[in-house]
Amino acid sequence: MFDHTIPELSALLRDRKVSSEELSRLYLARIARLDGALNAFITVDAEKAIAQARAADARIARGEAGPLTGIPIAHKDLFCAKGWKTTCGSRMLADWVAPYDAHVVEQLDRAGAVLLGKTNMDEFAMGSSNENSHFGPVKNPWDPARVPGGSSGGSAAAVAARLVPAATGTDTGGSIRQPASLTGTCGIRPTYGAVSRYGMVAFASSLDQGGAFGKSAEDLALMMNAMAGFDGRDSTSVERQKEDYARDLGKPLSGLRVGLPKEYFTADLAPDVASCVTAAIDELRRLGAATVEVSLPNQALAVPVYYVIAPAEASSNLSRFDGVRYGHRAASYTDLADMYRKSRAEGFGAEVQRRILVGTYVLSHGYYDAYYLQAQKVRRLIARDFAEAFRSCDVIAGPVCPSVAFPIGEKASDPVQMYLEDLYTIPVNLAGLPGLSVPCGLGAHGLPVGLQVIGNYFDEARMLQVAHQYQLATDWHRKAPPGYGA
């Protein structure tokens, strides 16, 4: 049961083999039994979940069920959900209960999905290992001594450990794809503007995009069908026709041109990861795709550019956490400045503070042109590289991460090493493109490796087609972490 994908569970629900309430209780019990060791959830609310499950069962009984009706899910704790604590993994919001639903939460609620809980994450989505959470690190189900990746590490670990069939995440620099890769799950980051950011607490507004985790490309397509779509409350939401992301899943890959960026296959890539990714690309060729070499010449600049733009936006976005209206306020202070200083110093963790400082610095008078403006220029070059590459290919394929999951604590004291973890994912965010990660093998220590598929703007359906066709031919996505299969 716990190994089932969404369509498989959906069929069971429709055929009354199981009710949503029973399914939800099974998952809640599994969370209660296993999450103590993983720490994937910050909040689980059985009462709310069961109420939603019963409503879903009634809807199924009325014959009004959609593909997600009655399916248990989890939200990354960055999405506001009315009546739920929404902590963002931070002491700053440790007790903050959201009074409204994010667009994504609303959409999945409308689809009939059952919210079991809110997942752990790097504080305010800043991190690549989930070690930056006020609620403690998340453990990788494949090896509890290792990180699950981040920042959506809780969602990734929860899906990998079969604690929930699917979960939402957000991806600002790789925060969905990297943990998906490190936990052997599937994760999609949609085109910037495809999923409304309303109610998704902002880290770096021009890069943030909500997405999903599941066990298959089809799971992702179904999640996307519910989550994506225009929302007038987000000015950067793109107004376009609703689409069916599953429409092309069944189409064969013959004639598809897969671009392989030469900059993605260098010495930076661990040999075990390289061989898994290369094997996956060979599989795509067997399925009828043609590969072409493409170049992303400004690739090497992506990480430094990202670490100017993202902190700059974060430094401003996080200014609202001042202890005045909500969130953490220091117990005692001498004056206004002291209240700000203490509340923020106590409320924010080290990495968040580091990025606020960096962001404040690069926006400062006299540095703005040299850093922020220059970074924006390079960002345009990076986007142009992709546009150029997509002239000769339909999708781009490559690694998600330079290596398999690393031990907890290994990179915690070296931020630059940590930042380089996102070397292959960050360029996609800078360009605003969609990208996904699907499991494509087991590398060193028997740990999962992900294949990244990058699409052109709003070409998610084609990316999902590639992933689905690959999954029809392989079963890497079916592999559960040792001890978690069921």
Binding site: P99, Y100, Y198, S235, S316, R325, T360
Partner: protein, 476 residues
Amino acid sequence: MDWEIVIGLETHAQLSTASKIFSGASTAFGAAPNTQACAVDIALPGVLPVLNRGAVERAIRFGLAVGATIAPRSVFARKNYFYPDLPKGYQISQYELPIVSGGTLAIVVDGEEKRVRLTRAHLEEDAGKSLHEDFHGMSGIDLNRAGTPLLEIVSEPDMRSAREAVAYAKALHSLVRWIGICDGNMQEGSFRCDANVSVRPKGSEKLGTRCEIKNLNSFRFLEKAIEFEARRQMHLIEDGGTVRQETRLWDPQKGETRSMRSKEDAQDYRYFPDPDLLPVEIAPSWIVAVRESLPELPSAMRERFVGDYGLAPVDATTLTASKSLATYFEEVVKAAGGEPKACANWVLGELSALLNRLEVEADSSPVRPASLAGLVKRVLDGTVTGKAAKEVFEAIAAGEGEADAIIEKRGLRQISDSGAIEALVDQVLAANPKLVDDYRAGKEKAFNALVGQVMKASQGKANPAQANAILKGKLG
């Protein structure tokens, strides 16, 4: 030393939209604290701004009204600073690419017309309010005003006296109401001015160091504060000191400006384009539609008054300084059946003096346009002399009725009977032999004195032209 004062104004006009610039909350004034602040206004985690097109439309109206350039693409930027009544920790404003650039505004001071150039006008949101009383050592925060749309209108340093600055502020105040983008209520803070003031030796090209004066919520304070500040700077320099660039606060109780913060303590606002908002794209068709929806603008009306009515440009500018005065004038002309010059003289003369005295706008004048027109007609057809007409005007203002009735009741009808005037002339000549001798000895002034005596003897009712002619004939 002879000094020249240089003044530029920054004006915040609150735009008259029903909802806020980036949220759906109401902008109505006076609600209980924090009852008009929605999730966006209080900056809850996860909320996003959505631009109110009504605010953009009003900015376009303003740009068109002052002959400015409307940017086809303008950008919202974040101005970052911490303050308890600034919920997001930044104000959304426009920085490098404002929506409106350039334009001019005509003012008249002492009969001299002048065009003040505008630098720019940009859209931004207002902050909330901090309340420092009634909270026992704490401050209260009211976020009802947070997110209210403002148009910040920045002038060039083109004004050279406090009176010019006031004329500019009044012209701007009138214009924003004329085009319906701001209610102009200064008590409620809908129209606020900050003044940049510097002084320099007359003839010098180089601008002096400026101080910005804040908290000027009336035209009177604006004038007094500028006068005080200019004097302060002159004395400072004359005593061998130098002016420090700083922000100063006007203290209406003490009638002085005092230092608030120096340029050195000025914050680094770390402006950058707001990634939550797309650039504002304004298509030419939108500008055309807004232009078509505008009422006749003061500048166009001024041209019409000069071209069609033959008014002096300076009079036309003064008449179009406010919509209520211009409308009043047009109604007088209509009721009088033409004669725009005579009507203009009355509106700019007696009527304006009356309005100033009563401190009211033309639309609440105690003398209605039709009543004034009735009087103008009687002046033009010779029923009353100019002098008597002023008395009639005051009587109308005092509520005694219409011109004709007052003329009859008070017996102010002009004497045009030549026999009656001749008798008065004879009386005057007999009573003033010295003046007659003086006149005959070549003193022209004596003639005027004699005319004056005839008018006086007639209690101002003699037709002055006839009295003149008869007197001239008698004196040979």
